[in-house]
Amino acid sequence: MTESSIAAPSSPAAIGGLNLRRHLRAFLPAFSLVLVLLAIAYLNPRAISYFGFSLMLNLAIPIALATIAQMFVIAGNDLDLSIGTFVGFIGCVAATWLRDAPFVGALVLLGCIAVYAGLGALIHLRNLPAIVVTLGMSFVWQGLAILLLPKPGGRAPDWLLAIMSVKPPLVPFPILAALLIAGVAYVGLMRSSYGAILRGSGGNAAAISRAGWSLLTAKVTLFALAGLFGELSGLALIGITTSADANIGNGYTLLSIAGVILGGGEFVGGRVSPIGAVIGALTLALAASPLLTFLHIPPDWQVAANGVILIIVLAARALISRKGSDRR
């Protein structure tokens, strides 16, 4: 999970310490997920069942997809503040055009990926701060969503509803979907040779450029992938909620950033972890409501509980990392 950080320790003892720390850090996201699951199992044993997981983790699929989208952008040292409204806009497209005029809908979806790719090119060529460009785009997507669907409504296409309500034997669908999403992103970004170049463009752009790779292509690819996964997130969301609303995805911007960071990603240096990001998204989805409901936390303080959970997980990670850096 931290393949990108190649250190050169001097003594065998240091190597052991370094590996231990790396493993601790890599397993922390999974550990926090297990902790949340144990808490839920303790509070309400019946929730740990096929039906319980299908219900609790349902909304985790779009969150995980949005988190992966954000992860691609963060891998290139940028931040996408528009992913939430983009997911909302795609949801509106899915609930209207994609059902009534599938061909137009598909064209719009392709066009949106092209827009994302174009943003990547624009940001690279003009050396613009991605935060501001995506900030502007968040207004654009929201405006388009309101124009398309002024009132909540529409209906998801039947095939989308069918996909999202699949009931596979033994393993609940959200868990299968999470494994699939994590697997695809992991192989693509961490195990493929171009994936290494993409991460490298965030880690050391000058080195990648001098090695003969185009930074423009890398940025465009990262943004196009973010657009693609953002669309998958919007489609999955509408497949679950069955109808759309222009504001449906607004919370996803901050959720996706938190998911990437919870999963062990860092804002700079191309250090991200697809598996961690998906686990982070699952943790957020579980911690967000099922856990708090079972804890009987009053609604007023549920938001605060979310914040506290985030702080605790990150504090644990900082503790582990600091122990390592003290030893060095």
Binding site: P129, Q142, I146, L147, I261, L310, I311
Partner: protein
Amino acid sequence: MNALSRLFAKPWLWSFAGALLVWLAAIAFTGGYGAGGMITAALSLAVFTVVVGVGQMFVITLGPGNVDLSLPANIGLASAVAMKVMNGDDSLVAIGLAAALACGFAIGAANYLLIWALRIPPIIATLSASFVIQSIDISYGRGLQIKPPPGFADFTNIQVLGVPILAILTALFTAAAAVALQRSIYGRSALAIGQNLSAARLAGVHVEMTRLFTYALCGALGGLDGALLAGYFRGANVDLGNEYLLASIAVVVIGGTSVAGGKSNVPGIWGAALFLVLLLTMLNTFGVSAGVRLLLTGLIIVAVITAAGGQKVPR
């Protein structure tokens, strides 16, 4: 000629040019009607963005990843605190303002405590903190119906020759902030930290104190803004600060401050705040729908930032 080219090299010029342009477009549409009124209205609304924008600018100056996402929650809570302490009584205005400032200051200091003690990235630290603050505000401000003291509410609306008095005070404050940024030890320290943290530390800059002060300052300005907003809009509200999350970041960056930190300017915040408010005014005079207004706002922000161009990559 030389002076002219120096002026054109100023990063904040573009935001004022943008503001002028949208204003001209708006009065061209109305045929000159309401030109002055538009500026008065724009000034009175821009003030609130400028106050938090200055705080956000100092935070962004500290370098990559430094940004305060807790401002909206901070504004909401401080507005409730101010209204409760003032309790509709003109004689308690000063105490209420002080309470709002203290509330914001404490939030800012708490933010930095999270960043420093737990080594959490500032974006996530302030985001997590904002969740907690929001909950406190919801539970503290539940059913709060207290109106601001009449004297305070009137004060936020006083105009001198069409210029709101708050705008004049804010202009004085921003001038002081500009001097503090460029000439004071604190400002220079913040800039140095943003340019190179390790170099600043080795050069003897009090890194932790400077960063603590910056987050606390930003928090305090958020608190002050909350109190002023509650006075201007006649009451506290949990959602009072919502639009200032994006707005505070947008005015800083459109104003020509580098998001990478270490290169900031104060005048640009005024230009960008006026630009954003006038843009909204212009689109309203055109009578477009909410969807089109959002769409155009976004496109124009992207266009402006593209035209102004990014900074050269530092070597």
